[in-house]
C-alpha cells in the first residue's frame, strides 16, 4: 500500500486544545473537581495525509477527536473547551471551536467521522439505504432518484452490493457494518474523516480489509484521516505521521517511520516495546516495563505528566510541562531523550 506523500496544504490546525470536564458532587451538584482530558494539544493535519493518534485508554485521544468535530459541547454540560481548531475550508480558514451549532452545520459535510462500534453506530430501525441517505438529505438538494443512485454507488464502492440498500443493519456482519459506516461518512465528499478506533472492534482478518478499503478511498477521493487507535501496528501501517498521547498531552509527534521504529520519548519507547512482534528473527528492542498506573487526569502530576512512571525522571521534571522540541527529525516533549538512549544502551 502506498502511503500518500504529505506535501499537501494544511487542512486542520489544532492549537493548544484543552478539554476539561467538570466533576460534580454533593447535593447542590457543585463543581468539585475537573478532569483535564486534553491538556494543551497541538498538531496539524495536511490534505490527503493520515495522522495517527495513539495512546492507552483514557489518554484523551477520543476526546480530542470529538473536540475536533465540535461534538462535545451540547452533550456534556459544563465542558470547557479552550484553544483553536482552525479548519482551512475551501472558502477560507475558520475556527471550529468558536462556531455555534448552526454555524457548524455547513462544515459538517466536509468533516466526517467513522465510529468504533459498528453495532451501535447504525440505527437499527433504518434500512442501510436510509442510513447512507441521511447526510444527503441534510446537506444536499438532491431528489429521491439521485439520492438512491448515489447510495447504490457508495454501497458498491465500499464493497457491498447496491441491492443491499433495503436490508437492515442487523443482517450484516461487523466488517460489513463498518463498511456501511464508511459509506455514510463518504456520502458528502468530506475532506477530513476522523476515524475513532474504526477497526478495534473487528477481527484481525476483517481489520486488514477495512484498513485497505480506507486507504483505497483516501487515494481515490483525497481524504485526510485522523486515525485514532491503540493498536500501534495498525497505525504504523496506515498513518503518515503519528502523534503519541499520554494523559492529555502529545508526547511525541513525527513521521510514522520515525516514531514507530526509533521512538525517542520514554513513554513512546515503552509503548512500542510492548507491541508484539510476530517475527522471531527480528531483533527485539529492550522491553521497557512501566511501573504503576496512569495517574488520574483529575489530579495530574505537576510538570511532566509522565514523570511518576518515567524510568529517567529527575527533580526538574516536576517543574514545568516540557515543550515539544525537535529531536532526530520529530517533535518530542522530553528534555532528557539523550539520557534515555544511554540507559537503554547500558542495559
Amino acid at each position: 500500500m502506498s502511503k500518500t506523500t504529505s506535501s499537501g496544504k494544511v487542512l486542520l490546525e489544532v492549537k493548544n486544545l484543552r478539554v476539561r470536564f467538570p466533576v460534580q458532587g454533593g447535593i447542590m451538584m457543585r463543581k468539585v473537581a475537573e478532569v483535564k482530558a486534553v491538556d494543551g494539544v497541538s498538531f496539524t493535519v495536511k490534505a490527503r495525509e493520515t495522522l495517527g493518534l495513539v495512546g492507552e485508554s483514557g489518554c484523551g485521544k477520543s476526546t480530542t477527536g470529538k473536540a475536533l468535530i465540535n461534538l462535545l459541547r451540547p452533550t456534556v454540560p459544563g465542558v470547557i473547551l479552550e484553544g483553536q481548531v482552525i479548519y482551512h475550508a475551501p472558502d477560507g480558514p475558520v475556527d471550529l471551536l468558536a462556531l455555534s451549532n448552526s454555524q457548524m452545520r455547513r462544515y459538517r459535510s466536509l468533516i466526517q467521522m467513522i465510529f468504533q462500534d459498528p453495532y451501535s453506530s447504525l440505527n437499527p430501525r433504518l434500512t442501510v439505504g436510509k442510513i447512507i441517505e441521511e447526510p444527503l438529505l441534510v446537506h444536499t438538494n438532491m431528489l429521491a432518484p439521485e439520492r438512491n443512485k448515489k447510495v447504490k454507488e457508495l454501497l458498491v464502492r465500499v464493497g457491498l452490493g447496491g441491492e443491499q440498500a433495503a436490508r437492515y443493519p442487523h443482517e450484516f456482519s461487523g466488517g460489513q457494518r463498518q463498511r456501511i459506516g464508511i459509506a455514510r461518512a463518504l456520502a458528502t465528499n468530506p475532506e477530513i474523516i476522523i476515524a475513532d478506533e474504526p477497526v478495534s472492534a473487528l477481527d484481525v482478518s476483517i481489520q486488514a480489509q477495512v484498513i485497505n478499503l480506507m486507504q483505497e478511498l483516501q487515494d481515490e477521493f483525497g481524504i485526510a484521516y485522523v486515525f485514532i487507535a491503540h493498536d500501534l501496528s495498525v497505525v504504523e501501517h496506515i498513518a503518515d505521521r503519528i502523534a503519541v498521547m499520554y494523559l492529555g498531552n502529545v508526547v511525541e509527534l513525527g513521521t510514522s517511520d520515525h516514531v514507530y521504529f526509533e521512538p525517542q520519548h520514554p513513554y513512546s519507547r515503552a509503548l512500542l516495546s510492548a507491541v508484539p512482534m510476530p517475527d522471531p528473527d527480528r531483533s527485539r528492542p529492550n522491553r521497557i516495563v512501566l511501573e504503576g498506573d496512569v495517574p488520574t487526569p483529575m489530579a495530574k502530576p505537576s510538570g511532566c505528566g509522565f514523570r511518576t512512571r518515567c524510568p529517567i525522571a529527575e527533580a526538574s521534571c516536576a517543574k514545568d510541562i516540557p515543550a515539544l522540541r525537535q529531536v532526530k527529525g520529530r517533535m518530542v516533549a522530553c528534555p532528557l531523550t539523550e539520557k534515555m538512549s544511554k540507559l537503554l544502551k547500558s542495559s
Binding site: 452533550t75 468504533q116 441534510v138 443491499q164 433495503a166 436490508r167
Partner: protein
C-alpha cells in the same frame, strides 16, 4: 463479499433476487405469533373491540344505536332469555345492547386516553432525556410534582368542573390522559438516556441533523419496543380507571353507559329480596375478560420485543 452471483446449488434454498430486509419488527411479530396464549387473547380483544364498536360506527341504523336506551315497561328485571340474552335492567332496557354499547365507550375512553398520554408522554420524555442537564432536571421535577398530587383528587376536580357544561367524553380523556402520561414520560426518558449515548446518535449529530430530526427519526423509533409494551398495559389500566370513575358516578352519565356504570347500576339492583345477578355478572364479566386479554397481549408483546429473548 456478499454478492449472490453463484447459481443455486441443488438442494439449496433458492435465493431470491430481490433482497428484502427483515426488520426487527418482523422478527418480533414472528416471536409473538409463537406465543399461543397471547395470540388467543389478541383475538378475544380484537373481537370484543369490534363488536363493541359496531353501535358507535357512523351510518348505523338507529335501531342498533339506540337499542340500549329504549325502555320497555313491564319488562324490567327480566332474567336472561332467548329474547334478552343478558336479561333486562330495572327500566326494562336490553342488557346485551347496553353491555355492547357500554363496551364501545369503555374501549374509546381507554384507547383515546392512552393515545393522549402516549403522544404527550413520549414526546416530553424524549426531549427531556435527549436535551439532558438542567432542562432534563427541570422537566422531570415538574413530572414529580404532578405525581405528588393525588390522582383521584385531580380527576374528580376536572370531572366536576367540566361535567356540568358538557355531556361529551372529552373531560374523561383529559382527566385520564393527564395522569397516565407521567409514567409514559418517565419510561421514555429512561430509555432515551441510554439511547442518546449510542454512536448512531453521535453519527447523526456529526452529519448535522437537527435536534427534532434526531429525536423523531433516531430516538423515538428505537423507543417503540418498551413503549408498545407499556401502551398495551396502560390500555387496561385506563379502562379500569374509567370504570372506577363511572362506578363512583363521576364518569359516563345516563343515558350513556360504560362497563363501569353498568356494574354500578347492577350492584344497586342487588337486594336481599331479589338478586338480579345478571345485571352485575355480564358487565363485570365482559370487563374482566377484556382486561385479562389485554394484559396477556401486553405480556406477549413484551416477551416478543425483548431483544434478550431472541432465539
Amino acid at each position: 463479499m456478499t454478492k449472490v452471483a453463484e447459481k443455486p446449488r441443488p438442494g439449496a434454498i433458492a435465493q431470491d433476487d430481490l433482497v428484502v430486509g427483515s426488520s426487527l419488527f418482523k422478527d418480533a411479530m414472528r416471536r409473538f405469533l409463537r406465543n399461543r396464549l397471547a395470540v388467543v387473547c389478541l383475538v378475544i380483544t380484537v373481537l370484543s373491540g369490534v363488536i363493541c364498536m359496531i353501535p358507535h360506527l357512523p351510518g348505523m341504523p338507529t335501531s342498533i344505536t339506540e337499542a340500549h336506551i329504549i325502555t320497555n315497561h313491564g319488562q324490567n328485571n327480566l332474567g336472561p332469555s332467548s329474547e334478552h340474552w343478558f336479561g333486562t335492567d330495572e327500566l326494562g332496557r336490553d342488557l346485551f345492547a347496553r353491555v355492547v354499547y357500554g363496551g364501545g365507550i369503555s374501549f374509546q375512553v381507554a384507547f383515546l386516553g392512552t393515545m393522549v398520554s402516549l403522544i404527550i408522554g413520549v414526546t416530553y420524555g424524549a426531549f427531556a432525556g435527549y436535551l439532558g442537564g438542567r432542562i432534563d432536571n427541570l422537566m422531570m421535577r415538574f413530572v414529580d410534582i404532578l405525581y405528588g398530587l393525588p390522582f383521584m383528587f385531580v380527576v374528580i376536580l376536572i370531572m366536576t368542573v367540566v361535567k356540568k357544561e358538557t355531556n361529551s367524553m372529552i373531560p374523561i380523556f383529559m382527566a385520564l390522559g393527564l395522569v397516565q402520561w407521567l409514567t409514559m414520560a418517565r419510561i421514555a426518558r429512561g430509555q432515551v438516556l441510554s439511547l442518546r449515548e449510542q454512536e448512531f446518535v453521535t453519527a447523526a449529530r456529526t452529519i448535522g441533523a437537527s435536534t427534532p430530526r434526531i429525536i423523531f427519526l433516531h430516538i423515538i423509533p428505537n423507543l417503540l419496543g418498551p413503549i408498545i409494551v407499556y401502551t398495551t398495559l396502560t390500555i387496561p389500566g385506563t379502562m379500569l380507571q374509567e370504570s372506577f370513575l363511572s362506578f363512583l358516578g363521576l364518569g359516563i352519565r345516563e343515558p350513556h353507559c360504560s362497563w363501569g356504570s353498568l356494574a354500578s347500576q347492577g350492584i344497586q339492583a342487588v337486594s336481599p329480596i331479589a338478586s338480579y345477578w345478571w345485571q352485575v355478572l355480564f358487565p363485570c364479566g365482559a370487563l374482566a375478560l377484556t382486561l385479562f386479554s389485554l394484559n396477556f397481549v401486553g405480556d406477549g408483546l413484551r416477551d416478543a420485543l425483548d431483544p434478550k429473548g431472541r432465539q
